[in-house]
Amino acid sequence: MDKRFWVLLGLFLLMTAAGLLLGEARFVFANASLICLSCIGIQ
Protein backbone atom coordinates (compact mmCIF):
# COMPACT_ATOMS: atom_id res chain seq x y z
CA MET A 1 0.00 0.00 0.00
CA ASP A 2 1.00 3.58 -0.62
CA LYS A 3 2.87 5.07 2.38
CA ARG A 4 0.81 8.28 2.12
CA PHE A 5 -2.35 6.24 2.62
CA TRP A 6 -1.14 4.82 5.91
CA VAL A 7 0.14 8.19 7.10
CA LEU A 8 -3.24 9.80 6.38
CA LEU A 9 -5.15 6.92 7.93
CA GLY A 10 -3.06 7.16 11.10
CA LEU A 11 -3.36 10.94 11.22
CA PHE A 12 -7.14 10.95 10.89
CA LEU A 13 -7.55 8.10 13.37
CA LEU A 14 -5.54 10.12 15.86
CA MET A 15 -7.60 13.23 15.18
CA THR A 16 -10.84 11.31 15.64
CA ALA A 17 -9.60 9.76 18.88
CA ALA A 18 -8.34 13.11 20.19
CA GLY A 19 -11.66 14.77 19.35
CA LEU A 20 -13.59 12.01 21.10
CA LEU A 21 -11.38 12.30 24.19
CA LEU A 22 -11.99 16.06 24.25
CA GLY A 23 -15.75 15.44 24.27
CA GLU A 24 -16.40 16.92 20.84
CA ALA A 25 -18.92 14.22 19.94
CA ARG A 26 -21.19 15.48 22.73
CA PHE A 27 -20.94 19.00 21.36
CA VAL A 28 -21.76 17.75 17.87
CA PHE A 29 -24.78 15.93 19.32
CA ALA A 30 -25.97 18.99 21.24
CA ASN A 31 -25.56 21.23 18.22
CA ALA A 32 -27.25 18.82 15.82
CA SER A 33 -30.13 18.23 18.21
CA LEU A 34 -31.08 21.92 18.26
CA ILE A 35 -33.32 23.32 15.57
CA CYS A 36 -30.95 25.32 13.37
CA LEU A 37 -32.87 28.51 12.55
CA SER A 38 -30.33 29.34 9.84
CA CYS A 39 -31.05 26.02 8.13
CA ILE A 40 -34.77 26.76 8.20
CA GLY A 41 -34.16 30.27 6.94
CA ILE A 42 -35.44 32.29 9.87
CA GLN A 43 -32.36 33.78 11.46
Partner: protein, 276 residues
Protein backbone atom coordinates in the same frame (compact mmCIF):
# COMPACT_ATOMS: atom_id res chain seq x y z
CA UNK B 1 -4.89 -3.96 -0.60
CA UNK B 2 -7.16 -6.48 -2.23
CA UNK B 3 -10.06 -5.33 -0.05
CA UNK B 4 -10.42 -2.02 -1.88
CA UNK B 5 -10.26 -3.63 -5.31
CA UNK B 6 -12.89 -6.18 -4.30
CA UNK B 7 -15.04 -3.49 -2.67
CA UNK B 8 -14.90 -1.32 -5.79
CA UNK B 9 -15.64 -4.29 -8.00
CA UNK B 10 -18.64 -5.20 -5.82
CA UNK B 11 -19.94 -1.62 -6.00
CA UNK B 12 -19.57 -1.62 -9.78
CA UNK B 13 -21.86 -4.65 -9.93
CA UNK B 14 -24.58 -3.01 -7.84
CA UNK B 15 -27.40 -0.83 -9.08
CA UNK B 16 -26.83 2.60 -7.58
CA UNK B 17 -30.40 3.85 -7.12
CA UNK B 18 -31.44 1.22 -4.51
CA UNK B 19 -28.28 1.94 -2.51
CA UNK B 20 -28.95 5.68 -2.68
CA UNK B 21 -32.59 5.19 -1.66
CA UNK B 22 -31.59 2.98 1.27
CA UNK B 23 -28.99 5.53 2.40
CA UNK B 24 -31.45 8.42 2.13
CA UNK B 25 -33.98 6.51 4.25
CA UNK B 26 -31.27 5.48 6.71
CA UNK B 27 -29.93 9.02 7.28
CA UNK B 28 -33.53 10.19 7.75
CA UNK B 29 -34.90 7.42 9.96
CA UNK B 30 -35.23 9.39 13.19
CA UNK B 31 -37.26 6.79 15.02
CA UNK B 32 -34.56 4.16 14.49
CA UNK B 33 -31.56 5.90 15.97
CA UNK B 34 -31.97 9.50 17.27
CA UNK B 35 -28.76 9.05 19.30
CA UNK B 36 -26.63 9.01 16.14
CA UNK B 37 -26.61 12.81 15.95
CA UNK B 38 -23.10 12.81 17.35
CA UNK B 39 -21.93 11.18 14.10
CA UNK B 40 -21.31 13.33 11.01
CA UNK B 41 -23.32 12.19 8.00
CA UNK B 42 -21.04 10.94 5.19
CA UNK B 43 -23.36 12.64 2.69
CA UNK B 44 -25.00 16.06 2.49
CA UNK B 45 -28.06 15.92 4.75
CA UNK B 46 -29.44 18.76 6.88
CA UNK B 47 -29.47 18.02 10.63
CA UNK B 48 -32.52 20.20 11.10
CA UNK B 49 -34.56 17.86 8.95
CA UNK B 50 -37.15 16.52 11.45
CA UNK B 51 -36.20 12.95 10.51
CA UNK B 52 -32.39 13.29 10.34
CA UNK B 53 -30.42 10.96 12.60
CA UNK B 54 -26.91 12.28 11.87
CA UNK B 55 -25.18 15.66 12.00
CA UNK B 56 -24.56 17.74 8.88
CA UNK B 57 -20.76 17.93 8.58
CA UNK B 58 -20.85 21.38 7.00
CA UNK B 59 -23.19 22.84 9.61
CA UNK B 60 -21.04 21.32 12.34
CA UNK B 61 -17.84 22.68 10.77
CA UNK B 62 -19.29 26.20 10.66
CA UNK B 63 -20.37 26.01 14.29
CA UNK B 64 -16.88 24.94 15.37
CA UNK B 65 -15.42 27.85 13.37
CA UNK B 66 -17.86 30.24 15.04
CA UNK B 67 -16.88 29.10 18.54
CA UNK B 68 -13.18 29.19 17.55
CA UNK B 69 -12.46 25.51 18.12
CA UNK B 70 -10.61 23.11 15.84
CA UNK B 71 -13.07 20.30 15.03
CA UNK B 72 -10.66 17.39 15.49
CA UNK B 73 -13.38 14.74 15.68
CA UNK B 74 -15.31 16.04 12.67
CA UNK B 75 -12.22 16.49 10.46
CA UNK B 76 -10.93 13.11 11.66
CA UNK B 77 -14.13 11.32 10.63
CA UNK B 78 -14.34 13.12 7.27
CA UNK B 79 -10.63 12.45 6.72
CA UNK B 80 -11.11 8.75 7.47
CA UNK B 81 -14.00 8.49 4.99
CA UNK B 82 -11.95 10.36 2.39
CA UNK B 83 -8.76 8.36 3.00
CA UNK B 84 -10.58 5.04 2.68
CA UNK B 85 -13.08 5.78 -0.09
CA UNK B 86 -12.49 9.24 -1.58
CA UNK B 87 -15.72 10.74 -2.94
CA UNK B 88 -17.58 7.42 -3.06
CA UNK B 89 -20.08 8.76 -0.51
CA UNK B 90 -21.10 11.44 -3.04
CA UNK B 91 -22.03 8.89 -5.67
CA UNK B 92 -23.62 6.29 -3.45
CA UNK B 93 -24.91 7.58 -0.10
CA UNK B 94 -25.61 11.31 -0.42
CA UNK B 95 -29.35 12.12 -0.18
CA UNK B 96 -28.92 15.42 -2.00
CA UNK B 97 -26.96 13.68 -4.74
CA UNK B 98 -29.77 11.12 -5.05
CA UNK B 99 -32.31 13.94 -5.42
CA UNK B 100 -30.22 15.40 -8.24
CA UNK B 101 -30.01 12.04 -10.01
CA UNK B 102 -33.80 11.69 -9.77
CA UNK B 103 -34.56 15.21 -10.98
CA UNK B 104 -32.23 14.83 -13.96
CA UNK B 105 -34.51 12.04 -15.17
CA UNK B 106 -37.32 14.59 -15.70
CA UNK B 107 -37.83 14.69 -19.49
CA UNK B 108 -36.75 18.25 -20.25
CA UNK B 109 -34.19 19.60 -22.71
CA UNK B 110 -30.78 19.21 -21.09
CA UNK B 111 -28.21 21.96 -20.56
CA UNK B 112 -24.59 20.82 -20.46
CA UNK B 113 -22.45 23.12 -18.33
CA UNK B 114 -18.68 23.06 -18.66
CA UNK B 115 -16.64 21.90 -15.70
CA UNK B 116 -14.41 24.94 -16.07
CA UNK B 117 -16.74 26.51 -13.47
CA UNK B 118 -16.13 23.67 -11.00
CA UNK B 119 -13.47 25.61 -9.03
CA UNK B 120 -16.34 27.88 -7.93
CA UNK B 121 -16.98 25.34 -5.19
CA UNK B 122 -13.60 26.11 -3.62
CA UNK B 123 -14.48 29.82 -3.52
CA UNK B 124 -17.92 29.06 -2.04
CA UNK B 125 -16.32 26.79 0.56
CA UNK B 126 -13.71 29.37 1.55
CA UNK B 127 -16.17 32.26 1.74
CA UNK B 128 -19.44 30.79 3.03
CA UNK B 129 -18.15 27.93 5.17
CA UNK B 130 -14.93 29.36 6.59
CA UNK B 131 -14.23 33.09 6.20
CA UNK B 132 -17.67 34.69 6.58
CA UNK B 133 -18.76 32.46 9.52
CA UNK B 134 -15.40 33.22 11.18
CA UNK B 135 -15.93 36.96 10.84
CA UNK B 136 -19.71 37.26 11.15
CA UNK B 137 -20.12 34.48 13.75
CA UNK B 138 -23.09 33.09 11.83
CA UNK B 139 -23.32 29.94 9.66
CA UNK B 140 -23.80 31.67 6.32
CA UNK B 141 -23.68 28.55 4.20
CA UNK B 142 -26.62 27.17 6.23
CA UNK B 143 -28.53 30.42 5.73
CA UNK B 144 -28.40 29.97 1.95
CA UNK B 145 -28.25 26.17 1.72
CA UNK B 146 -30.88 24.67 -0.64
CA UNK B 147 -30.67 21.30 1.14
CA UNK B 148 -31.59 23.00 4.40
CA UNK B 149 -34.46 24.81 2.68
CA UNK B 150 -35.85 21.54 1.36
CA UNK B 151 -35.17 19.19 4.26
CA UNK B 152 -35.60 21.60 7.20
CA UNK B 153 -37.21 24.86 6.05
CA UNK B 154 -40.27 23.49 4.29
CA UNK B 155 -41.13 20.65 6.73
CA UNK B 156 -40.50 22.73 9.87
CA UNK B 157 -42.62 25.61 8.59
CA UNK B 158 -45.34 23.15 7.66
CA UNK B 159 -45.21 21.41 11.05
CA UNK B 160 -44.81 24.38 13.41
CA UNK B 161 -47.22 27.29 13.12
CA UNK B 162 -45.19 29.52 15.47
CA UNK B 163 -42.16 29.29 13.15
CA UNK B 164 -44.33 30.44 10.24
CA UNK B 165 -44.75 33.85 11.85
CA UNK B 166 -40.98 34.31 12.01
CA UNK B 167 -40.34 33.88 8.29
CA UNK B 168 -39.12 36.92 6.40
CA UNK B 169 -36.69 38.00 3.72
CA UNK B 170 -34.10 35.32 4.48
CA UNK B 171 -36.68 32.56 4.14
CA UNK B 172 -37.86 34.02 0.83
CA UNK B 173 -34.27 34.19 -0.45
CA UNK B 174 -33.70 30.61 0.64
CA UNK B 175 -36.82 29.43 -1.18
CA UNK B 176 -35.76 31.23 -4.37
CA UNK B 177 -32.31 29.56 -4.17
CA UNK B 178 -33.99 26.19 -3.64
CA UNK B 179 -36.34 26.70 -6.58
CA UNK B 180 -33.47 27.72 -8.87
CA UNK B 181 -31.44 24.68 -7.87
CA UNK B 182 -34.37 22.31 -8.33
CA UNK B 183 -34.91 23.69 -11.84
CA UNK B 184 -31.19 23.50 -12.59
CA UNK B 185 -31.07 19.87 -11.39
CA UNK B 186 -33.73 18.97 -13.95
CA UNK B 187 -31.67 20.23 -16.87
CA UNK B 188 -28.05 19.80 -15.72
CA UNK B 189 -26.63 16.66 -14.17
CA UNK B 190 -25.48 17.05 -10.55
CA UNK B 191 -24.98 20.85 -10.61
CA UNK B 192 -24.82 21.19 -6.83
CA UNK B 193 -22.11 18.50 -6.53
CA UNK B 194 -20.04 19.98 -9.35
CA UNK B 195 -20.19 23.68 -8.61
CA UNK B 196 -21.23 24.18 -4.99
CA UNK B 197 -21.01 21.26 -2.57
CA UNK B 198 -18.62 22.01 0.32
CA UNK B 199 -18.60 18.37 1.43
CA UNK B 200 -17.52 17.23 -2.02
CA UNK B 201 -14.89 19.96 -1.87
CA UNK B 202 -13.48 18.36 1.27
CA UNK B 203 -13.62 14.79 -0.10
CA UNK B 204 -12.38 15.68 -3.61
CA UNK B 205 -8.61 15.84 -3.01
CA UNK B 206 -8.75 12.42 -1.32
CA UNK B 207 -9.61 10.73 -4.62
CA UNK B 208 -5.89 10.74 -5.54
CA UNK B 209 -4.79 9.53 -2.10
CA UNK B 210 -7.45 7.08 -0.96
CA UNK B 211 -7.15 3.32 -0.58
CA UNK B 212 -9.87 2.85 -3.16
CA UNK B 213 -8.79 3.90 -6.67
CA UNK B 214 -10.11 3.84 -10.19
CA UNK B 215 -7.74 3.40 -13.10
CA UNK B 216 -7.75 4.00 -16.86
CA UNK B 217 -5.92 1.40 -18.96
CA UNK B 218 -5.09 3.23 -22.18
CA UNK B 219 -4.15 0.14 -24.18
CA UNK B 220 -7.71 -1.21 -23.86
CA UNK B 221 -9.52 2.01 -24.80
CA UNK B 222 -11.32 1.95 -28.16
CA UNK B 223 -12.26 5.65 -27.90
CA UNK B 224 -15.98 4.89 -28.14
CA UNK B 225 -16.73 7.68 -25.61
CA UNK B 226 -19.46 5.66 -23.89
CA UNK B 227 -17.88 6.58 -20.56
CA UNK B 228 -18.13 10.28 -21.32
CA UNK B 229 -21.85 10.00 -22.08
CA UNK B 230 -22.72 8.25 -18.80
CA UNK B 231 -20.61 10.38 -16.43
CA UNK B 232 -23.05 12.35 -14.25
CA UNK B 233 -20.48 15.01 -13.44
CA UNK B 234 -19.59 15.69 -17.07
CA UNK B 235 -16.02 14.40 -16.81
CA UNK B 236 -14.02 12.66 -19.55
CA UNK B 237 -13.09 9.48 -17.61
CA UNK B 238 -9.97 8.53 -19.64
CA UNK B 239 -8.38 11.78 -18.53
CA UNK B 240 -10.33 12.74 -15.43
CA UNK B 241 -11.26 9.55 -13.61
CA UNK B 242 -10.34 9.87 -9.93
CA UNK B 243 -9.81 13.63 -10.15
CA UNK B 244 -11.46 15.79 -7.45
CA UNK B 245 -14.64 16.07 -9.51
CA UNK B 246 -15.18 12.29 -9.79
CA UNK B 247 -17.97 11.10 -7.48
CA UNK B 248 -17.01 7.45 -8.02
CA UNK B 249 -20.46 6.41 -9.13
CA UNK B 250 -18.82 3.67 -11.27
CA UNK B 251 -21.12 4.40 -14.19
CA UNK B 252 -18.09 4.60 -16.50
CA UNK B 253 -16.78 1.24 -15.30
CA UNK B 254 -20.17 -0.30 -15.98
CA UNK B 255 -20.46 1.32 -19.39
CA UNK B 256 -17.00 0.47 -20.75
CA UNK B 257 -17.31 -2.69 -22.88
CA UNK B 258 -13.52 -3.03 -23.20
CA UNK B 259 -12.50 -3.05 -19.54
CA UNK B 260 -10.42 0.09 -19.97
CA UNK B 261 -11.73 1.53 -16.71
CA UNK B 262 -10.77 -0.55 -13.73
CA UNK B 263 -11.01 -0.70 -10.00
CA UNK B 264 -7.83 -0.94 -8.01
CA UNK B 265 -6.27 -0.16 -4.67
CA UNK B 266 -3.47 2.31 -4.13
CA UNK B 267 -0.07 0.71 -4.57
CA UNK B 268 -1.45 -2.50 -6.07
CA UNK B 269 -2.29 -3.75 -9.55
CA UNK B 270 -5.76 -3.03 -10.88
CA UNK B 271 -8.54 -5.54 -11.36
CA UNK B 272 -10.39 -5.68 -14.63
CA UNK B 273 -14.13 -5.99 -14.31
CA UNK B 274 -15.50 -9.07 -15.93
CA UNK B 275 -18.04 -8.22 -18.62
CA UNK B 276 -20.96 -10.36 -19.53
Amino acid sequence: MAFFARFTDALARLRRAPVQLTSTLLWNSYFLAPWLKNVPCPGFNCYSCPLAITACPIGTLQHFIIIRRVPLYLLGVLGLIGTLFGRTACGWTCPFGFLQDLLYKVPLPKWRVSNRWAPARYVIFALLVVIIPFIALEPWFCKLCPAGALEAGLPMIALQADLRELTGLLFAVKMVILALFLLWMMVTSRPFCRFVCPLGTIYGPFNRLSGMRLHFEESRCQHCDLCRHVCPTGLYPPEEIDTAGCIRCMECLKACPHGALQSCATGTSCTERSHA
